[in-house]
């Protein structure tokens, strides 16, 4: 059995073939379920994307924002142009599924990039082809990932953008990395957190520059590469935004960016702030009835909690984690940043988990979660258990109509938050213990060194 498994992971074609087959089967199964059951396999978001594409190309509205709840860049609607192609019968179904094919292909591309990163820059233990394939399979053969893509959720595109960004950085392809960064932020905002980590990582020594003794810190910091990264990524981001603004006007700004600032986010989700946000959003209307203002103490040290919630989130994901970790292990740092961003976010739904899951294959080879199976299993079990607890409370609210906001959902979301913080602590601890993943020459290190490093 063990032989079969190791043989399986020795052949990229087998691994990628299986990943492809997994998605192909899910896709076809989804088509069957959609055609035969009132309960749809296809994600509601996919209907949003395809409606938006149709409204952009086949309607007088000529804008994706004519579709309610379309909160994405118009690029996504453009990418799905083929789904608007009119075709009878099977061809029509094929073209309509084009987006899912695209998202699933993005999964595979992200998987391929993960293998490249592992092979060229990964910890020594993961640099052989078989090992790289085995770790990349955490993403490639992950049923959750495959299901999300084939149901038509666009997170797979983010996966490939972010892994491509990491790979470009590690390969020192500064311009490409900058363009990907600008595109990523335009696409989904959150990848901006990677900018400080990349900038910090990209120091002169690493980029092969020699500084004369006595060079000022500022001049050491402002390397041509960092300036190029900043200029090209900003230009890409602004260029795209200006172009989209020119085409779609205020609606683009409103739905792609401003919506995320002004939304109330009161509907139940995993975020620890969720119940508090519901309470504070309704507070003016509560006090209007009972006449006692501020009775619910939604202030903390004189500040409204929901308006300072971004402080711990951004402090961790944009400042502290990149500062301490980026030079040690960029991939693990990006994982920790994403993990912190999602954990401390004011909204948190399960599709956000994909944002950090794509980094797991790069982190796990040098992780204490694998080195100490007891720890790894506990972390996974607690992560699943607290999530399950929340889901059960959510089910009781959503489908049974029980008022579980307090205490059920509230405590479950806090427990899930604390478990996430604990896991984040483990990942951060591994930054110190994990072997230097990236060596400027890209040459593999000996196994002995990594063992010492991993003590």
């Amino acid at each position: 059995m063990a032989n079969i498994i190791s043989a399986f992971f020795s052949y990229p074609l087998l691994v990628f073939g299986s990943a492809f087959l997994l998605r192909a089967i899910l896709l076809v199964y989804g088509l069957w379920q959609d055609a035969n059951s009132p309960l749809k396999y296809t994600d509601i978001d996919y209907m949003v994307f395809t409606d938006a594409a149709r409204l952009t190309f086949n309607s007088p509205a000529r804008s994706p924002y004519a579709r309610e709840t379309y909160r994405y860049t118009p690029l996504l609607a453009w990418l799905l142009y083929p789904t608007t192609l009119p075709a009878p019968g099977a061809a029509g179904v094929f073209w309509f599924s084009f987006g899912k094919v695209l998202f699933a292909a993005a999964d595979l591309a992200a998987g391929w990039l993960l293998v490249r990163v592992l092979r060229r820059h990964g910890p020594p233990a993961a640099r052989t082809e078989a090992a790289a394939l085995r770790y990349a399979s955490i993403w490639l053969l992950n049923p959750m990932v495959a299901t999300i893509s084939t149901r038509g959720s666009s997170e797979g595109l983010l996966g490939v953008l972010v892994t491509a960004l990491l790979y470009a950085v590690l390969e020192r392809r500064v311009t490409l990395a900058a363009a990907l960064l600008g595109l990523g932020v335009h696409f989904k905002i959150y990848p901006f957190i990677y900018a400080p980590a990349i900038v910090w990582w990209m120091d002169g020594e690493r980029m092969g520059r020699q500084f004369a003794a006595g060079t000022s810190l500022l001049r050491r910091f402002l390397t041509p590469e960092r300036l190029r990264l900043a200029i090209v990524s900003l230009a890409t981001f602004l260029g795209l935004n200006i172009a989209m603004y020119a085409l779609y006007g205020r609606e683009f700004l409103q739905h792609t960016f401003l919506h995320h600032v002004t939304r109330i986010d009161h509907r139940h989700n995993f975020s620890p702030y969720n119940v508090l946000l519901y309470l504070t959003s309704a507070e003016p209307y509560v006090t209007a009835q009972s006449g006692e203002a501020g009775a619910w103490g939604t202030e903390f040290l004189g500040l409204r909690i929901e308006s300072v919630a971004f402080v711990p989130q951004l402090l961790l994901s944009c400042v502290l984690i990149p500062l301490v970790g980026a030079k040690k292990d960029l991939a693990t740092t990006m994982l920790a940043q994403t993990f912190a961003f999602v954990t401390f976010n004011k909204v948190c739904t399960s599709q956000y988990f994909l944002w950090y899951m794509v980094f797991l294959p790069l982190y796990l080879p040098s992780s204490s979660l694998l080195r100490r199976p007891g720890l790894g299993v506990s972390a996974l079990a607690l992560w699943v258990a607290t999530q399950g607890l929340w889901l059960q409370q959510g089910y009781n609210l959503e489908f049974l109509g029980q008022s579980t906001f307090m205490p059920g959902l509230f405590y479950a979301s806090l427990a899930f938050f604390l478990v996430n913080c604990w896991i984040l602590g483990i990942i951060i601890g591994d930054l110190q213990g994990s072997p230097e993943a990236d060596v400027s020459t890209g040459a593999p290190k000996s196994v002995g060194q990594s063992k010492t490093a991993a003590k």
Partner: protein
């Protein structure tokens, strides 16, 4: 002012014509089991000054109120609306951004329209491209009574000394349906009050300067009555002019008829946050054999609850709920906002139902998937929301050349009629709740955050976030203390140095 009072009764409830006494400006007789309709036509000058002021500054206003109490009806008054107050309105200047709009200030005098302000964002805009005979704006309020309006009418429409008038106006509160119509073209106000099928006194006295016409009618099918017509026979008296009731026999085109079937509505249990309203229809048989008919349900949903038009787009899903299609839904809806931040009254929708395709009439159910918005937190964690019954009817195509406005009892501007062509015949199903239930408003308790437990939320959230943050920072500090911010102090680092 002109008044027309019509009693419509069944054949078997007829009273002896000889027992009706017409004397001067009054008519009286034995109690009669009938449906009664009073229609008043008033000139602008006969109105209280604030109402006159309002009407001269608007283009069209139609108020339609239907009682939440179940009632039986007969004859030409079979049209139904979801219970509550419906407002159909066209301002003089058709731009919502215009100066302060007067309608809300007027409505607030009668109804708790809290969200109705100077702008028209409380109203939904009706489709002007669909059919031209609808007003520009619509709103609705699930109000159970029009006592405030009755009080207003008794104060301003009756002279201070006329106690009889005041009593009659206050009795408006017992009416089953109340229509108020005004448009700039006719320049008159028409008020129609309907009293359900019950035993009631026959005793009407007219004011000296009012023209009052009283009719006692029964259905008549002796002549050749078409599907789109209603034939009636009976007695007509113009008070002050006639000394005896004169017999009449006539027929007229009737837009609204009774389908002779009933339906009931209830939410499936448990409600959850995505309640399903089940409609139970007792007959699947179309009312006309030789015309195209389709069964519809028209909803006016307060902003606590809404339908998702995207969910109602899939034929398979719709078929599984015995629905054919969503024919109309007011825009915008906002699929995400909680009730308490919404200015908009709610939404109206027209769903075509899918009766089983069987030759004989069968009872069937249709399920309407709806979604609740979040409500303001309450002590105890529950809030009650009110959802009115829909109006359920068959819409059939009437013959070419049918002119419904020629009917003396025609009723228009009731929301759904504007969604159909002008030659549509509506066959109404009577709402008939389960045994023992009289109310046509569904009242349900929905989960909200329990305010009684809310004191802990803020401090605990802050404490836990700070604790989690502190733990992560501590781990970062530990790494930093050991290896700084640079690359790891490991053999790997040394290898690098030697390169």
């Amino acid at each position: 002012m002109r008044q027309r009072t019509t009693f419509f009764h069944r054949d078997e409830d007829a009273i002896q014509p000889s027992s009706i006494k017409v004397k001067g400006r009054s008519i009286s007789g034995p109690d009669i089991t009938a449906v009664r309709e009073d229609r008043f036509t008033l000139g602008l000058d006969e109105l209280p000054s604030d109402l006159k002021e309002l009407l001269t500054n608007i283009s069209e206003l139609h108020l339609r109120w239907a009682s939440p109490a179940r009632y039986d009806t007969l004859g030409p008054w079979t049209s139904r609306l979801p219970p509550g107050l419906h407002v159909f309105y066209t301002p003089q200047h058709d731009d919502a951004t215009g100066p302060r709009d007067p309608i809300c200030a007027f409505l607030r005098g009668f109804m708790p329209q809290e969200n109705c302000t100077d702008s028209l964002d409380h109203f939904s805009q009706l489709p002007y491209d669909r059919f031209s005979h609808a007003t520009a704006y619509q709103s609705y309020y699930p109000s159970r009574s029009i006592s405030a309006f009755a009080e207003y009418a008794s104060q301003y429409l009756c002279s201070a000394s006329d106690d009889g008038c005041k009593t009659r106006m206050r009795a408006l509160d017992q009416a089953k349906s109340f229509d108020f119509s005004y448009d700039t073209i006719s320049h008159v106000v028409k008020v129609t009050v309907l009293w359900g099928h019950q035993k009631q006194p026959l005793d009407i006295t007219s004011h000296s300067d009012h023209r009052v016409e009283v009719g006692l009618l029964v259905p008549d099918s002796t002549g050749a009555i078409e599907d789109h017509e209603l034939g009636v026979a009976g007695l007509l008296t113009i008070l002050g002019e006639d000394s005896n009731p004169s017999p009449v026999l006539f027929s007229f085109p009737a837009r609204h008829k009774s389908a002779g079937a009933t339906f009931s509505a209830e939410f499936l249990s448990p409600l959850g946050l995505h309640p399903t309203m089940q409609l139970q229809v007792d007959s699947s048989e179309p009312p006309m054999k030789d015309s195209f008919c389709s069964l519809h349900a028209y909803f006016t949903l307060p902003n606590t609850i809404f339908a998702d038009k995207y969910q109602l787009d899939d034929p398979l899903f719709l078929a599984s709920k015995n629905l054919t299609a969503l024919r109309y839904i007011s825009q915008p809806i906002d699929l995400e906002a909680p009730s308490y931040v919404m200015k908009l009254w709610g939404s109206s929708l027209l769903l075509e139902l899918k009766p089983p395709a069987e030759d004989e009439a069968v009872a069937f159910t249709a399920e309407v998937p709806l979604h609740l918005r979040y409500q303001v937190p309450q002590d105890g964690g529950e809030e009650s929301v009110t959802t009115p019954y829909p109006a359920v009817f068959w819409a059939c195509a009437a013959e070419e050349g049918t002119k419904f406005p020629n009917s003396p009892f025609d009723r228009v501007n009731i929301g759904y009629d504007g969604l159909f062509g002008p030659r549509t015949l509506f066959w109404h199903l009577d709402p008939a709740p389960q045994e023992g239930v009289k109310d046509l408003m569904l009242t349900d308790s929905v989960p909200v955050l329990d305010l009684g437990q809310a004191l802990l939320i803020s401090p605990l959230t802050a404490a836990v976030v700070v604790a989690g943050f502190a733990w992560v920072v501590w781990k970062l500090v530990a790494v930093f203390m050991k290896s700084g911010y640079g690359a790891q102090q490991s053999p790997g680092r040394e290898v690098k140095k030697t390169q």
